[in-house]
Amino acid sequence: MKILMSAAAALLAGAVAANAEGELQLFNWGDYTSPELLEKFENETGIKVTVSDYDSNDTALAKVEAGGGGYDLVVPSANYVQIYVEKGLIQELDLSRLPNHSNIAAEWLDVPWDPGRKYTIPWQWGSVGIAVNSDTYSGDINTSAMFLDPPEELVGKINVAPEMNDVMSLALMYVGGEACSEDTEVLKKARDVLMAAKPKWQSMDYGATPKLASNDMLASVYWNGAVFRARLENDKVKFGYPKEGFPLWMDSVAMLSDAKNVDEAYAFLNFIMEPENAGLISAFARYANGIEGSEEFMPADMETAPEIVIPDEYKSAGKFLPTCSPKALEYYTAIWTELRK
């Protein structure tokens, strides 16, 4: 028995020791981190990055708030950054340790959610739209009606990514309101539209990229870069920008207040602001990033991709989502719960 117990103790100790130096724990969206980027980082610095992934901003926030997760870096969307800051979950960065900070493109430097980029470093940005398989439906897909009042051909075939803020914003803009509205009339309309549409959906799930590519899914409310990747494998997948209004988003990397591997985290943050490395990030996930000069390191098809270059006529419909007030969020959550039953 003694032998057994000491064997267990040895295993336990070994398991603990594995969690030692030269490591970095990155908590990022699933299917979003370039393996080449991590490999290059490890080769240059000797730091091994472990990625744990999440599906939604809310899940990430809930996990970080629960505490003791052991993560060093997290990648929240713009409208969540202030929540992290207010709750003291992320720390202000020491910009002197980030010489590449000057590489951030001017337009992404003084952003409303983080003026001067004191807390967050740009990762990628993009839009939320609707992917439709052109074999299934060939009409105009640049409208939220694709999932809120779907044409016959798409009934029962649409997936909706269950990201509350994105879906609520799309519905609110569709009924003529705006994101984070507290106007009960508008909210009621949005709720009714969503509830009426839900029976016509196939699923509410993430992970649509391979399913769109393999025709397991024929339409989905999803993110532009992910649809881009699906289109590269299946040219029938088209991306539509809802003319009634669609959310723009930017995900940025932030360092958690209880980060253990602070030096490694700074090294990584500085590393991803190198244009060549930011190019790697975009080359994998197929979204634009906020680093000046990274374009030349991206695949050529990114410059003309319809998923990346928003047509002029829809440009004004794209809106960055604000951080909703607690009141607006209460409305959101109530409608969302009803929707997800």
Binding site: M1, A7, N19, Q25, T50, V51, Y71
Partner: protein, 274 residues
């Protein structure tokens, strides 16, 4: 008995029973067989056969995440099986071959509790408790997963050991005691050797149970502590590649090997009694 039943009340006289049974067995295996088959598919689709190939196996193993998750799963399962089997042996010695008492019923209920409580409930409870401890102590290692797994593996280790103890001949131990062996000596040289097949069986069941767990691991793990099943869950929901078929095939293979060993052990256990 079988002969009598065949003549007087044969299965064929309950119409359709044999057909249903055979269909059930086929349906039980069809998905698994196809899953295993497509692990050897040369093409990238888990549904369209493009010829035989072994290349998905080295490819899965070359994936750093798969490798780490596999090692982590094995470390956890081995530790949890050792811990749960050790405490289960003691508990089985403490609760069998004695008069029934309320305390004993309580222990029995407690040990079987993990079988009765839905896993999601335990998972949520552990998320909260371990969250506290992680913040308070700063320790975020594998210990939590090992402890949680040890707990729900205890009944699986306990049941075969208890069954063996109850069926064991007590006279040898009495003889040992008559020969002035101390209780420890009697245990070490008489009881334990006789108990060993059951201990090994319990260990294996605990090991498989730990290796299979998804829900509790999902809620308890910290950063970078994916086990093979939690990694697979993420993959199944995102990228359905043949790689997952390959991993699944290896897990099925491991289960079959362990179960075969288990049956050989328990058969040996039964033989001297009959």
């Amino acid at each position: 008995m079988t002969i009598v039943s065949d003549r007087a009340f044969s299965v064929s006289r309950l119409p359709g029973f044999a057909t249903i049974a055979v269909t059930v067995l086929v349906m039980l295996y069809l998905p698994i067989v196809l899953l295993v088959l497509f692990a050897f598919n040369a093409g990238p689709s888990p549904a369209i056969w493009e010829g035989f190939s072994l290349h998905w196996f080295p490819r899965a193993w070359a994936n750093e995440q798969v490798k780490e998750a596999t090692i982590r799963s094995l470390v956890i399962a081995t530790s949890a099986a050792i811990i749960s089997t050790s405490v289960a042996v003691l508990a089985a010695l403490g609760t069998t071959r004695r008069r029934k008492s309320p305390g004993q019923t309580f222990v029995y209920l407690m040990i079987n509790q993990p079988l009765m409580v839905p896993e999601i409930v335990t998972a949520v409870a552990l998320l909260i408790l371990f969250g506290f401890i992680k913040v308070a102590t700063g320790y975020q290692g594998l210990g939590y997963l090992i402890l949680a797994h040890s707990a729900f593996c205890i009944p699986f280790a306990y049941l075969p050991i208890r069954a063996r103890l109850e069926g064991m001949d007590i006279t040898l131990e009495i003889a040992a005691a008559d020969l002035y062996a101390t209780p420890w000596q009697a245990f070490r040289h008489v009881t334990l050797p006789m108990l060993m097949p059951a201990v090994a069986a319990g260990f294996m069941l605990a090991f498989i149970t730990s290796l299979d767990d998804v829900i509790i691991s999902l809620f308890v793990k910290s950063a970078g502590q994916d086990t093979l099943p939690t990694y697979m869950l993420g993959q199944i929901r995102r990228n359905m590649t043949v790689e997952v078929n390959a991993i699944s095939t290896l897990l099925i293979g491991l289960t079959v090997i362990l179960l075969t060993a288990f049956f050989l052990l328990t058969r040996e256990r039964n033989r001297p009694q009959k």
